[in-house]
């Protein structure tokens, strides 16, 4: 055996509890990668839906247009008159609806300006059987059942109709909202299952090392001293697992984004992720490491407290 020249030159490993070789490590790492993968893909979905929803409700959903089809009569003046009657009927109805702040019919000038690109200048719209429009301003965040509104409107005047794109959008928003809630539930589930897995792995590891732990205790180690070693190891493994998960998640998110762009054209592109969203997704390995550390720490402390 070699003579040790200077004891202070020697490197010491300080892993008192041999957590590195635990058989539950692989279980933990695989579980955390899967969790982080699912979590980040779902989170991306939630964030995308959120940004889509906020885009819409800000710009599009605040207003609404009601269209009154022109009555086509041989007598032009009479048809215009009749169209106006229908417009007034619709107007009066709209003013009684909850959630509608203001309903203003567009006057001739406004209509003319709207139609100029198609019809050119110098055309008197009074001579033409064009539809009349009512601009409806909604109370912010009003909960309006557009389907019911459209039906009632049609009852009152068969010529009046809600702008159909808006109708479709409102159904889409309801769907997206439902999807978002589902995703939030899924996020919560993933989080609790992971926490359960970490608790299970920590407890089985504690059982495995109970002899070393009891030795440390009798040497005067406080629970925190032991819990820290577990927390450090669990955090490290979870960070690695998280990196693997995110490495699979990022291409998946891009692929899903590409796919949904193709499928739905213009609407889903609004569901893009901001830099803030991306950075919160990319910080998930760190986040998972911190959650895992805390879970392991608390589990060890709680379990040890039952011993003497």
């Amino acid at each position: 055996m070699k003579k040790i020249s200077n004891i202070h030159d020697i490197k010491f490993s300080k892993d008192e509890i041999p957590l590195k070789s635990d058989s539950s490590n692989l279980f933990l790492e695989v579980m955390i990668s899967i969790s982080v993968f699912l979590f980040s893909v779902t989170l991306a979905g939630v964030l995308a839906i959120n940004s889509m929803l906020s885009n819409w409700s800000d710009s599009i959903l605040g207003a609404l247009t009601v269209q009154i089809m022109p009555v086509n009569n041989v007598n032009k003046e009479k048809s215009i008159e009749e169209t106006l009657i229908h417009q007034n009927k619709a107007l009066e109805f709209l003013k009684t609806v909850d959630g509608i702040e203001k309903a203003t019919p567009l006057d001739d000038k406004q209509l003319q300006r709207l139609l100029r690109p198609w019809l050119g200048d110098g055309i008197d719209i009074k001579d033409l059987p064009i539809p009349r429009l009512i601009d409806v301003k909604l109370v912010p965040h009003a909960q309006i059942d557009f389907m019911a509104l459209a039906e009632k409107l049609a009852e009152i005047s068969p010529l009046a109709s809600l702008d159909s794109h808006k109708l479709w959008l409102s159904k889409l928003i309801q769907f997206a909202d439902g999807l978002k809630n589902l995703a939030l539930v899924a996020l919560f589930l993933v989080l609790s299952i992971s926490a359960g897995g970490i608790i299970y792995a920590t407890k089985s590891s504690l059982g495995l090392h109970k002899q070393v732990i009891s030795i440390l205790h009798i040497m005067g180690a406080k629970d925190a001293y032991i819990a820290k070693q577990f927390a450090r190891r669990t955090g490290y493994i979870s960070f690695l697992g998280g990196l693997v998960g995110i490495a699979f998640a990022v291409p998946t998110i891009f692929a899903i984004a590409k796919l949904s762009e193709k499928i739905e054209g213009g609407i889903i592109t609004e569901a893009s992720l901001s830099w803030l969203s991306w950075s919160s997704i990319l910080s998930l390995p760190l986040f998972s490491a911190i959650v895992a550390m805390m879970t392991a720490y608390v589990t060890v402390k709680k379990t040890l407290e039952k011993m003497m």
Binding site: L216, H217, A221
Partner: protein, 240 residues
């Protein structure tokens, strides 16, 4: 009989009406009364299975009595919280009958454990552990993994670990059962030296030779009870 109860500070360990049972079994020890004064040295004897290890385990705070009160360093162990128990344990050195070393660590790291847990500076740790292991003649095996050591070598690591922090109370359970007749007296002298520096010592042993070589009082466990025998063979029924 009760003459010393007022002098609390001088008592390192006090037991009153202590009983121990495991699970729903009968009591292993009954009505133990004991008061160990600071700086005392006792042997602990008794047949195999008499309860020596059980009695010691209350002293090193790894077990609470089933009934009665145990005070260690004047703290009632029934009411102490976990962290203060940990602080008390740092003042106690223990040599276990089955060593209880951390098998995957080296002899050095095992012996360094109490100092590192106390948070001692690494430089001093290294110096002290090296000297200690050289003293118990483990210089060659200092950096060998404990699992590769011989029985006697393990026992010496266990002793080194118990005394490295110069504890106020030293409890040794059959500390020379696995070493040869050359090193055993040397280790016993280590305990005697520590005792001279103020450490209270209790040594459980079966070896008649050791007991007769040193003239210290003997705590004997018999029929679940504790009796003290002094070297001059005078028997006292109560230990307080």
């Amino acid at each position: 009989m009760q003459k010393n109860t007022g002098n609390k500070l001088a008592s390192i360990i006090e037991m009153q009406n202590v009983g121990i049972r495991y699970g729903h079994g009968p009591e292993i020890l009954s009505d133990i009364k004991l008061s160990l004064k600071k700086g005392s040295f006792h042997f602990l004897t008794g047949k195999s299975g008499a309860g020596k290890t059980s009695l010691l385990s209350m002293m090193y705070l790894s077990q609470k009595p089933s009934r009665g009160t145990v005070k260690v360093f004047d703290h009632n162990v029934n009411f102490a919280n976990r962290d203060s128990l940990a602080m008390l344990r740092r003042k106690i050195g223990v040599v276990f009958q089955d060593f209880r070393l951390i098998e995957h660590l080296t002899a050095f790291e095992n012996a360094a454990l109490p100092l590192r847990i106390m948070g001692m500076e690494e430089k001093e740790v290294k110096q002290r552990v090296k000297e200690m292991l050289e003293w118990v003649e483990l210089d060659k095996n200092m950096f060998a993994q404990v699992s590769t050591l011989s029985g006697g070598e393990k026992q010496r690591v266990a002793i080194a670990r118990a005394v490295i922090s110069r504890p106020e109370l030293l409890l040794a359970d059959e500390p020379t059962g696995n070493v040869d007749n050359y090193i055993a007296p040397k280790l016993m002298n280590l305990f005697v030296e520590l005792n001279k520096l103020g450490t209270t010592v209790v040594i459980a042993t079966h070896s008649e030779k050791i007991i007769s070589d040193f003239s210290y009082p003997r705590l004997n466990l018999e029929n679940k009870n504790l009796r003290i025998y002094y070297p001059n063979d005078k028997i006292e029924m109560d230990t307080i």
